[in-house]
């Protein structure tokens, strides 16, 4: 299912955060939202998740208006992972079962247990099954949070800075998980990232946000030195290294 937002605006109090932005996203791809702090990247994610109501404009999931969907209908279509996970002493298995919540009414069923079990195996997290969340490392916690979102069987995956607090190895592992699931389940995945090189490596489409507006949106073609320098207000240079594009201050 694709996502489209049209003439979307939002303000916190009197402070305009997003001003009349529009974009159309298709399924099966990772979209990286880039921009400096405070340009409304997280706000965009929250508007798409339905946590915030837009001041103007609308969000379409497929051909349905987001605002016309009930909370449960939204939960069956959209999964969201915040930047920081709230920890508790819930076990990893019970935490993952929460991801199945939109798909059952009174309590979880055998099938939900089986899905959680195979997800843990698939992501090689079986050794953490009974571990309380508060005893996990940052990387483990982020993978478990992703597994919870995958178990929701969404069509749209919204991830707010999924790699911001991880080491290099975990950054790559987490992004590979996201990439594989996006391809396998034909998801529309939207992530906000600060690491441009990570975005260049994993995302296929880019939304560059500056001053409450979209500076540019599109595939690799829009990732030019000029756009990026303008985006980060810093002279930046793109290099080609093998098949990969990389960016560095010039």
């Amino acid at each position: 299912m694709g996502v489209e937002f049209k003439q979307l605006s939002f303000a916190y109090g009197g402070q305009q955060v997003l001003d009349n932005i529009s974009c159309r996203l298709t399924a099966g791809h990772i979209y990286a939202v880039l921009g400096i702090n405070g340009t409304g990247k997280s706000t965009l994610i929250k508007l798409l998740a339905g946590f915030l109501k837009p001041a103007a404009g609308s969000v379409l999931l497929g051909n349905r208006q987001l605002k016309n969907l009930s909370l449960k209908q939204r939960a069956q279509r959209i999964a969201y992972v915040p930047q920081h996970q709230q920890i508790s002493n819930l076990s990893v298995f019970d935490y993952l079962l929460l991801g199945r919540k939109p798909h059952h009414t009174w309590q979880s069923k055998r099938r939900d247990d089986a899905l959680v079990g195979s997800m843990l195996e698939k992501l090689s997290l079986s050794h953490l099954t009974m571990r309380p969340l508060q005893q996990l490392s940052g990387g483990e916690l982020q993978k478990v949070a992703l597994a919870r979102a995958f178990l929701q069987e969404p069509e749209i995956l919204l991830l707010d800075e999924p790699t911001s607090s991880l080491d290099l190895k975990n950054q790559l592992e987490v992004m590979e998980l996201i990439s594989a699931e996006t391809l396998a389940k034909n998801l529309t995945t939207i992530i906000t990232v600060h690491d441009v090189n990570l975005a260049l490596r994993f995302a296929e489409y880019f939304i560059l946000m500056k001053d409450r507006k979209i500076l540019a949106a599109g595939d690799l073609e829009i990732m030019t030195s000029e756009h990026l320098s303008q985006l980060y207000e810093l002279p930046l240079q793109l290099y080609r290294q093998g098949k990969l594009l990389q960016v560095a201050p010039s």
């Binding site: 998740a49 939204r74 929460l98 939109p102 979880s108 959680v116 099954t129 009974m130």
Partner: protein, 355 residues
């Protein structure tokens, strides 16, 4: 290869273990209830008790069993369940381990209401015109009514504050502390001007006692407790979702704001009724969920039932201890729970093993 993977098997074993814990504590209720039924001011042999329970409808034993012992047991049951569950769900929705009926000021509001009721019933003889609209009520009913109205008033203030500041969950507890001290000051004010009889009545009212409730009151409390417990239990997975954060819970389909509001209303209402009928049974709503969490973890599917069971056990033990400690003087259960409360609570806070 079997179709069940290892994580699933681990989970099944874990659930079985949790069910054993619940079963063990539920079974403990039976001997506790038995001892409670057999102990009391009038000595009854098991034979007399049995006769009183089923035969001899006009014997003293029958009167003792049906009018004193049974109401006390049912009181412990309902009071324990309502206070412990209220504490557990308040802690869940406010995400604050200090949330409990007493820390939100509901009990203190009830105490002030009762004090006011007692003062007014004293003034009723002197100023019959002023209280003509209340002349239909007996004094005891009026005291209960006032206690209920003021605990409800506290509830309303707290819920209004939650609505006003939807994100300020921490400030709710502080508001509770402020309301408590306001009502305590009000009670002190009334005590200062009360005559000796009234003073004794006001002070006596605050001693939470399981003997106090009559059958009609227990019916009312029973209905409210069952309704509230049903709502809390139906939302056990939603409380689990809140553990993952408000936004994540919402993305999982939970209407967090509505859940918080209804839960708080239900919890404070059951507490208000309980306190009105029994007086202040301090710390039960705070300790029972904490003990349960240490024993069984934070998963509300197990935490809620175990909290309820522990709440009942604590009240029964407090009642029995009160009868045994200074025999033949029977201390009210509320005194014991408050005494037990502090050391148990400190133990829970500071005595945890480093894991």
């Amino acid at each position: 290869m079997s179709s069940i993977v290892q994580p699933e098997r681990d989970q099944q074993n874990y659930r079985r273990q949790q069910h054993y814990w619940l079963a063990i504590f539920a079974l403990l209720l039976l001997p506790a209830a038995g001892v409670m039924m057999l102990s009391g001011a009038s000595e009854l042999s098991p034979q007399q008790f049995w006769d009183g329970l089923f035969n001899h409808h006009n014997s003293v034993a029958h009167l003792v069993v049906w009018e004193i012992r049974f109401p006390r047991l049912i009181g412990a049951l309902l009071g324990g369940v309502s206070l412990a569950l209220s504490g557990a769900v308040l802690q869940a929705v406010l995400k604050n381990p200090l949330a409990a009926p007493t820390t939100l000021g509901i009990a203190q509001g009830a105490a002030f209401g009762a004090a006011l009721g007692i003062t007014c019933s004293g003034m009723r003889a002197s100023f019959p015109n002023l209280f003509s609209s209340l002349s239909g009520f007996a004094n005891s009913v009026m005291v209960s009514l006032f206690a209920f109205i003021f605990s409800l008033l506290t509830t309303l203030v707290i819920i209004l504050l939650t609505r006003l500041r939807q994100s300020g969950k921490e400030s709710i507890i502080l508001a509770g502390v402020a309301l408590s001290s306001l009502f305590m000051a009000g009670t002190t004010f009334l005590q200062y001007f009360a005559d000796e009889t009234q003073l004794a009545m006001i002070v006596h009212w605050t001693f939470g006692d399981l003997d106090r409730a009559t059958w009609p009151e227990l019916y009312l409390l029973g209905i409210i407790t069952v309704l509230a417990s049903g709502y809390f239990f139906a939302n056990r997975l939603n409380y689990n979702a809140i553990l993952a954060g408000d936004e994540v819970a919402q993305s999982l389909g939970v209407n967090v704001i509505r859940l918080r509001l209804i839960t708080m209303s239900m919890a404070t209402l059951t507490t208000a009724v309980t306190v009105t009928f029994f007086g202040i049974l301090g710390f039960v709503g705070l300790i029972a969920p904490h003990m349960a969490r240490r024993l069984i973890g934070s998963d509300n599917r197990y935490l809620l039932p175990l909290s309820a069971i522990l709440g009942v056990l604590i009240l029964i033990c407090a009642d029995l201890l009160g009868k045994l400690l200074l025999d033949p003087v029977a201390l009210p259960a509320g005194v014991i729970t408050s005494f037990l409360g502090t050391p148990v609570f400190l133990l829970l806070l500071f005595g945890r093993r480093s894991s």
